[in-house]
């Protein structure tokens, strides 16, 4: 207990490894069961049953899918640029899985007399007892998610297939456009919070019994950010890059086996991250009634909110038809960007007047 390595107690390292592994496995399981949930939910919305054969009500379906993909043949197209082709799924997967490092999923819990903040990239200073996290947490997420575009653009280019190239190009143009509008939409949140640290943003929303959410103060920013994020991660109704009616399977047309699965995992992991980020910035994070007294309630509220938003994404897929590409770029550049800027200016003047 008293061993100190590099100015940090031994308990810190144990907690770090535990947090990283638990969070990683949790996201992995969520990703696996999100595919199942999506098929089930859309199935029931369309008066079908969805997967039923593997296990009770098809509960083993994600595992069956995973095993099946493992045993599939790896195909590298004959004229593909091999290195870029092989590394593209990895580039898509890694940023998707490391973004949630800065998202706080609970308050500070105490284990064996040592305080552990429930956020991966944070620690408790031994001398002052204060919780420190990366004080540019939001920018870290924006920076990492801006790297996801390479996986897709490389996959499209390296496959040496026309469908892949078109899918990859569409995807990258769409992702960068909406990254911009999402980035502008959240500026107004920082104007209220005065910090970029995720931990503090969550703490600032803890008032009024855990319901002092920024979604109520910045409803326009909330709606814009959520829509832009859905578009950035290529979910329906903005899934143009994979529009199967036009582009077969978009940028992953030529991919098979585990490499294909990795693009899929990256897409769902991005969905988890986006929902978690929206929860943190706008829906009070892990805050809720009594969350500050019973610290273990925090993660429960957090997961419940994230799952609700994910359900909402799936609901959208069953309800809204796909956009046309020109409409998509039109909304991104001609509606969301000016709206975001106007929102910033109005928030600035509003807060000054009051």
């Amino acid at each position: 207990m008293d061993i100190v390595i590099l100015g940090l107690p031994m308990m810190y390292y144990i907690a770090m490894v535990a947090k990283v592994l638990v969070a990683f496995v949790f996201v992995l399981l969520t990703v696996a069961y999100a595919t199942y949930a999506e098929r089930k939910i859309i199935g029931h919305m369309q008066v079908r049953l969805g997967p039923m054969r593997t296990g009770w009500h098809g509960l083993l379906q994600p595992i069956a899918d995973g095993v099946k993909l493992f045993f599939k043949e790896e195909i590298v197209p004959s004229q593909a640029s091999t290195f870029a082709f092989l590394i593209a799924p990895l580039i898509a997967l890694v940023p998707a899985f490391i973004t949630f490092a800065v998202i706080p999923f609970g308050g500070v819990i105490e284990v064996a007399g040592y305080k552990i903040p429930l956020q991966i990239a944070s620690y408790v200073d031994m001398a002052s007892g204060k919780v420190y996290d990366i004080n540019v947490g939001v920018l870290y997420i924006l920076a990492m998610s801006s790297l996801g575009v390479y996986g897709i653009v490389l996959a499209g280019w390296a496959s040496n297939s026309k469908y892949s190239l078109l899918g990859g190009l569409r995807a990258s143009a769409q992702m960068i456009s909406y990254e911009l509008s999402a980035g502008l939409a959240i500026v107004s949140v920082f104007m209220l919070s005065g910090t970029l640290s995720m931990n503090e943003i969550v703490n600032l929303q803890s008032g009024m019994g855990g319901f002092e959410w920024y979604a109520f103060k910045q409803p326009l920013a909330f709606i814009m950010f959520f829509i832009c994020s859905i578009a950035e991660i290529n979910r329906t109704p903005f899934d143009l890059p994979e529009a199967e009616t036009e582009l077969v399977s978009g940028f992953c047309t030529e991919y098979s086996s585990m490499k294909y699965a990795m693009f899929f995992m990256a897409e769902y992991a991005n969905m988890v991250t986006v929902c978690a980020l929206t929860t943190t910035l706008f829906l009070g994070g892990w805050n809720g009634p009594l969350a500050t007294t019973f610290t273990l309630l925090g993660p429960v509220y957090f997961v419940a909110k994230v799952y609700f938003l994910m359900f909402f994404c799936m609901w959208l897929r069953a309800t809204v038809p796909r956009y046309r590409y020109d409409q998509l770029m039109h909304i991104g550049w001609k509606v969301f960007i000016p709206l975001g800027l106007i929102n910033i200016v109005v928030t600035g003047i509003w807060n000054y007047l009051i």
Partner: protein
């Protein structure tokens, strides 16, 4: 400082490790039956025409350039946003000028039709 970044390093290692292991495993387990037709790019069952790396519209290039410029604008907005309560009216006016100048550029882009997709 170290305490906040070490977990990210560990997470990166875990994520890359997971990706590499699953790639290597699946390439070891999966069957390998080579055939010329299977390895050719997919083109709805027809013979592939030309290469798959055709030239494409300049539009995408323009979007990427505009993205850089507006992204830099957004980067300037972040430090301003967290300080603007402390900067007061002065900060509001200086950012107002900044946004107005860039909005002129935005209107120019719009009027020139650079945001239209045919």
């Amino acid at each position: 400082m170290l305490g906040a970044y070490l977990p990210i390093l560990l997470l990166v290692i875990v994520a890359i490790g997971f990706g590499l292991v699953s790639l290597v495993m699946s390439s070891l387990i999966g069957p390998k039956k080579f055939s010329v037709l299977k390895m050719s790019p997919y083109e709805s069952g027809c013979e592939p025409v030309g290469t798959g790396q055709e030239r494409f519209s300049i539009k995408f290039y323009l979007i990427a350039m505009l993205f850089i410029l507006f992204d830099i604008e957004a980067v300037f907005l972040y430090p301003w946003a967290i300080l603007y309560k402390k900067l007061g009216m002065f900060g509001l006016i200086e950012m107002g000028i900044f946004i107005v100048i860039l909005f002129v550029g935005y209107i120019y882009v719009w009027k020139k039709g650079a945001l239209e997709w045919e």
